[in-house]
């Protein structure tokens, strides 16, 4: 098949050899699970359970709120200890509303597969069930998957692309999943394809994962419905826009989603979760997590219930060999720095990295020498050095005019910068400032409306009062009038 490639990108050291040959192991069920109510993009879920209540494995804990939201389910049977604020897996460790479950020592047996054939279900029902199972994009973006599966007559999907590229260094969770459970993934892909009524389904795997490619190709041979293709290894191949460009040759226009050009992208982990949801009626309550980094004693992939804390994963992998220079959730390029290990695994956590000092290139920032390497590396076709210089001087309009909103935050520019300028940090700062500006504008507009509504209300009340006074005066006058006729001679 002809491939098209994308501009820019980098080749960071893959560092996948630590974990790619070790089988996935199941993390023993922790004593307590900390399940945040906001694990996805969109509105947080609303708790449906109360402290003290006993829940079964897979029971609904919190209902989704609105169209772009996802419910949360119990990963194991247990008693709810509290619903309270706990540190979120976020660079600041700010609190997030969390359901704390004390798990039972004896877990009920796993659910039996459902006998119903999901291929007979209408697409809308599949989307509904995927939504009810709380499935979100497992590649890290955590966008509710049901929204992408919902049939949209205005934008028919002709090509489904399943993202098996896993371009982030260190991470091998998708790789191991493809090596160990290829039939389930192929089944999930066929189900997504059925839901979307897409003509083509393409599974794209980077060429640095030959074992996964072989396993998936073998599994796909039986059904003929899925094309498994090899794509070159280049970061950020796994980013939606770059993957669509590589596979179809079409560029997603500014401000649009892949649906705009009839393409839909899902991650292999999502396909696996959809298979589990439709075949065994299991909600999304566990995921595969890569635990790696120079400071971890036995790096490997774990199947982890949502809500297990990072320290439990690290302990199971033999603990730390040295104090980590940096803790990261996700990959080293786009992952988030974690404040400590007492934060939980959430639906979008693809990896936990405890990086040692020699893996972190953290020198002082030096002046820009205008070498232009960041421009060559930027897959979005932007001018990172120019935007960074503008943001250094808080020229937000200048940065916006150069397209800082189109930055995908992949980190290629910061990676290649010989002066170690934190370019992506500047762009995150710019995006935050732009967001603040939009919110301020919306608020001032809203304030004006409120002030106007109040003055209208005051005027209305004054008018009502005046009317009431007039009425009273009139009735008083009428009351006074009766003696008048009595004066008349009888």
């Amino acid at each position: 098949m002809r491939l098209f490639g994308f501009r820019g990108g980098v080749h960071p050291e893959a560092a996948k050899h630590h974990t790619e040959r070790r089988p996935i192991r199941r993390l023993p069920l922790p004593r307590r699970l900390y399940i945040p109510l906001q694990q996805h993009i969109g509105a947080p879920a609303k708790a449906e359970v109360a402290p003290g209540q006993h829940v079964e494995s897979g029971q609904l804990l919190a209902r989704s709120q609105g169209l772009i939201s996802a419910p949360v389910h119990a990963p194991a049977a247990g008693r709810i200890v509290a619903i309270e604020e706990h540190p979120a897996p976020h660079p600041t460790g700010l609190p997030v509303s969390t359901v704390v479950i004390e798990t039972d020592s004896e877990q009920p047996p796993a659910t039996v597969p459902s006998t119903e054939d999901p291929f007979t279900l209408p697409p809308a029902t599949i989307a509904e069930r995927v939504g009810a199972a709380g499935i979100v994009g497992m590649g890290g973006a955590t966008f509710p998957s049901a929204v992408k599966l919902m049939p949209n007559p205005k934008q028919p999907i002709h090509t489904l692309i399943i993202n098996g590229s896993e371009c982030e260094p260190y991470l091998t969770c998708d790789d191991r999943l493809m090596q160990e459970r290829p039939e389930a993934i192929i089944d999930g892909i066929r189900l997504i394809r059925h839901a979307l009524q897409a003509r083509r389904a393409v599974l794209a795997i980077e060429d640095n994962k030959p074992a996964a490619f072989a396993a998936m190709a073998a599994a796909a041979r039986q059904s003929e419905a899925v094309e498994v293709i090899r794509i070159p290894s280049r970061y950020p191949m796994g980013w939606e826009k770059q993957l669509v460009k590589t596979v179809t040759g079409h560029e997603i226009p500014h401000g649009q989603l892949p649906g705009g050009i009839g393409v839909c992208v899902h991650n292999v982990g999502t396909a696996y979760a959809i298979h589990r949801c439709l075949r065994t009626r299991q909600p999304l309550s566990s995921r595969i997590v890569t635990v790696a980094g120079g400071a971890v004693r036995h790096p490997q992939n774990l199947e982890v219930p949502i809500g297990a804390r990072l320290e439990e994963l690290i302990d199971f992998c033999g603990g730390l060999t040295e104090p980590p220079a940096r803790l990261v959730m996700g990959g080293p390029m786009m992952g988030q720095v974690m404040p400590h290990l007492r934060v939980p695994i959430v639906k979008g956590s693809s990896g936990v990295l405890a990086l040692s000092a020699h893996e972190v290139d953290d020198g002082p920032e030096r002046p820009c020498i205008r070498c232009g390497r960041c421009v060559m590396a930027c897959p979005a076709g932007l001018l990172p050095l120019e935007m960074g210089a503008r943001m250094r001087h808080d020229d937000l309009d200048g940065a916006e005019a150069l397209g800082v909103q189109d930055c995908i935050g992949c980190g290629c520019c910061s990676y290649v910068c010989p002066s170690k300028i934190p370019l992506v940090h500047y762009f995150n700062y710019a995006k935050g400032e732009l967001q603040n500006r939009r919110q301020e504008k919306a608020k001032s507009e809203q304030t004006r409306q409120w002030a106007q509504a109040r003055s209208e209300r005051l005027a209305r009340e004054a008018a009502e009062k005046a009317a009431l006074r007039a009425e009273r005066a009139a009735s008083k006058a009428q009351q006074k009038r009766p003696p008048h006729p009595s004066k008349e001679p009888l």
């Binding site: 920032e365 995006k431 002030a451």
Partner: protein, 201 residues
């Protein structure tokens, strides 16, 4: 007598007509900039700028008698927008970046007198007589009108702590703007240049 009445009446009508015509044709148009500035201001007429309401504030801005930083509830973004509209350079460094502070009822002091929500220009305070009042912080502009009217001084301004939805990345610490590091670079450069000169000799 009739002649006097008729002549004065005619004179009155004629002059009145003239005045009416003059009011239409010789009207002094309010500059559009005032309306544009007024549209930017919050419109709550809180009076913190020292002018009687937002329209008067906008007029003062247009005349140049008020600085662009006049509106405390608008904060830095409004000051920047006004400066851009008026085409002036403004020193915004003294305004703080953070979210504008909002009113908060100190529940131990609130006696439920309802005075505060009667003056709130955006109806951001809710409550009932003899019940503790509360502030809808999304609607509060921090205009301080309620602060002065509270008989028990039971309202204070507080800054909302950022949460996961409102937190944004701060500006990266700029190593190059620190004078020490700049000095270090310069010293290195000087030394390197000296070495090169010596080699050349």
């Amino acid at each position: 007598m009739f002649a006097a009445i008729i002549s004065l009446a005619l004179l009155g009508f004629a002059l009145g007509y003239l005045l009416g015509v003059a009011a239409i044709h010789l009207r002094v148009k309010e500059p559009e900039i005032i309306q544009e500035l007024e549209a930017l201001l919050p419109g709550t007429n809180c009076g913190q700028c020292g002018f009687p309401g937002c329209p008067a504030g906008a007029r003062a801005l247009a005349e140049g008698t008020a600085p662009v930083t006049l509106c405390p509830p608008g904060g830095k973004p409004l000051a920047a927008a006004l400066a851009a509209k008026l085409g002036v350079e403004a020193d915004l460094s003294e305004l703080d970046d953070g979210p504008a502070p909002v009113a908060q009822v100190i529940e131990a002091l609130c006696i439920g007198c309802t005075r505060c929500f009667k003056v709130c220009p955006t109806d951001a305070i809710v409550g009932a007589p003899k019940q503790i009042h509360g502030v809808v912080s999304d609607a509060c502009t921090g205009c301080k009108k309620c602060l002065g009217i509270c008989p028990t001084m039971g309202i204070k301004l507080t800054r909302l702590q950022p949460n996961l939805a409102t937190w944004q990345w701060p500006k990266p610490a700029d190593a190059n703007s620190q004078p020490e590091s700049q000095q270090a670079v310069r010293d290195d450069d000087v030394e390197a240049a000296r070495d090169m000169m010596e080699v050349a000799r």
